[in-house]
Amino acid sequence: MQPNGHGDQQPNIVVVDDEEMVVTSIRAFLTLETEYNIHGFTEPERAVQHLELNPVDVVISDYLMPKLNGIQFLSKARQLQPEAARVLLTGHADKQSAIQAINEVGLFQYLEKPWDNSQLLLIIQSAIERATLFRSLRDKISELDSAHSSLKNVQTRLLRAFL
């Protein structure tokens, strides 16, 4: 598995919650249990800046946050890094916001607080796999495109040679 297409680099996980305690808890859990790089933010705007500059595999976001709510933030994340899997972690069991999130931001998973660490880890693992598959698919498509254009060139040259 090659997250981010950067060789042996570990997967990058972004965690956004305006509650410092949630970011700290998830960061501590993932740091102790995995080798992932965890980037935690309490302000979604800062997380957007991070996404503009750094490749990310999974984005986990709270829903209720000031200025930018979880859906608005994940929508920006989708624009910036469409292949990164998006997970909404919310304490607000609101079906409408969940449906909105699934439809508007192509949500990978919806998780309610209080969350279960094992479940969170499973979701992150499948999210990384999904992001990796997407990247691999993109690379294959790009390889196919380039092979296709090489073939086209060969075909053009052959046609020129015979005509």
């Binding site: 305006d18 509650e19 305690m21 949630v22 700290t24 808890s25 998830i26 501590a28 859990f29 740091t31 102790l32 249990e33 209720l64 946050m65 000031p66 919310t90 304490g91 607000h92 069991a93 609101d94 309610e112 607080k113 209080p114 969350w115 279960d116 660490n117 094992s118 969170l120």
Partner: protein, 274 residues
């Protein structure tokens, strides 16, 4: 007839009905805050549960690492010490999380005082602060609540459960009047023999055409499910009819609204009123 309310006379019956209505409205108001309160409790609970699981698993690995170090006669590795530091930081988070939950529960407990029929001398600032703890669950992301208390304000003799309802109604109204982000300021002061509480918002203000109707029963500008149209009616009754105080407001469109409440520090003896 054995009905005590009927035996007590129409005024007492009216007062009892008024209390029941205020109580029902208080529960309805709390119900509307419930989703926000659940969110505010779920966040620290989520952290505590996650931390507990992390600490439990990490303690096991720390025990093994320390065991291995002892066997080899070596000091604990840097990694072991780093894990212990992380675990210590998680217990700090747990303490903060528990305090957050306790604060919300304290706020709720104040509201759980059902129909207190006895007058009590209370610190009105505590009632206001408990109200803010609950309203913050819903509004804190867009509304900042500022308090400017007169620390010399003596205890006020009142029906605390009913005054809770007054402050809850006024703070919720103030926050809802603010379309995006803004501030609600709560000031207290001593004025002669009354406590003066002013609740100001930086909201849209009340349009002139609606001002004469705001205390009328059944009048609301809120969407269905958000308002009963009874909040300010009940608030006025609790302040003026039950406590012999006064309520008024000043408002400017586009600038905000301030509600003023005056509550006498001492009530006429309970048997004269109830």
């Amino acid at each position: 007839m054995s009905d005590p309310a009927a035996a007590a006379g129409p005024e007492q019956e009216l007062e009892a009905t008024r209390r029941n209505l205020a109580e029902a409205h208080k529960m309805a108001s709390l119900g509307r805050l419930a989703a926000g309160i659940v969110h505010e409790i779920n966040t620290p609970v989520g952290s505590i549960l996650s931390n507990n699981e992390t600490i439990r698993r990490s303690l096991e690995s720390v025990r093994k690492l320390l065991g291995a170090a002892v066997e080899q006669g070596q000091p604990p590795t840097a990694r072991t010490l780093a894990v212990l530091d992380t675990l210590a930081s998680l217990t700090d988070i747990d303490k903060i999380a528990c305090e957050r939950i306790l604060a919300i529960i304290r706020g709720l407990k104040t509201f759980a005082r059902v129909n207190e029929s006895d007058l009590q001398k209370i610190n009105i600032h505590e009632v206001i602060l408990n109200t803010i703890k609950l309203t913050n669950c819903v509004f804190r992301r867009r509304v900042t609540v500022v308090t400017e208390f007169d620390e010399g304000l003596p205890e006020v003799e009142c029906y605390p459960g009913l005054l809770n309802q007054v402050f809850l109604n006024l703070v919720v109204n103030a926050a809802q009047a603010i379309p995006n982000e803004g501030t609600v300021t709560i000031r207290t002061a001593m004025e002669e023999d009354r406590a003066h509480i002013a609740i100001s918002d930086t909201g849209t203000g009340i349009p002139e055409s609606l001002r004469p109707r705001i205390f009328s029963a059944g009048f609301t500008t809120k969407p269905i499910g958000e308002g009963t149209g009874l909040g300010l009616t009940i608030t006025r009754e609790i302040v003026e009819d039950t406590h012999g105080g006064r309520i008024s407001f000043e408002t400017e469109t586009g600038v905000g609204t301030t509600f003023h409440v005056w509550i006498p520090l001492r009530q006429p003896r309970s048997q004269e009123r109830v």
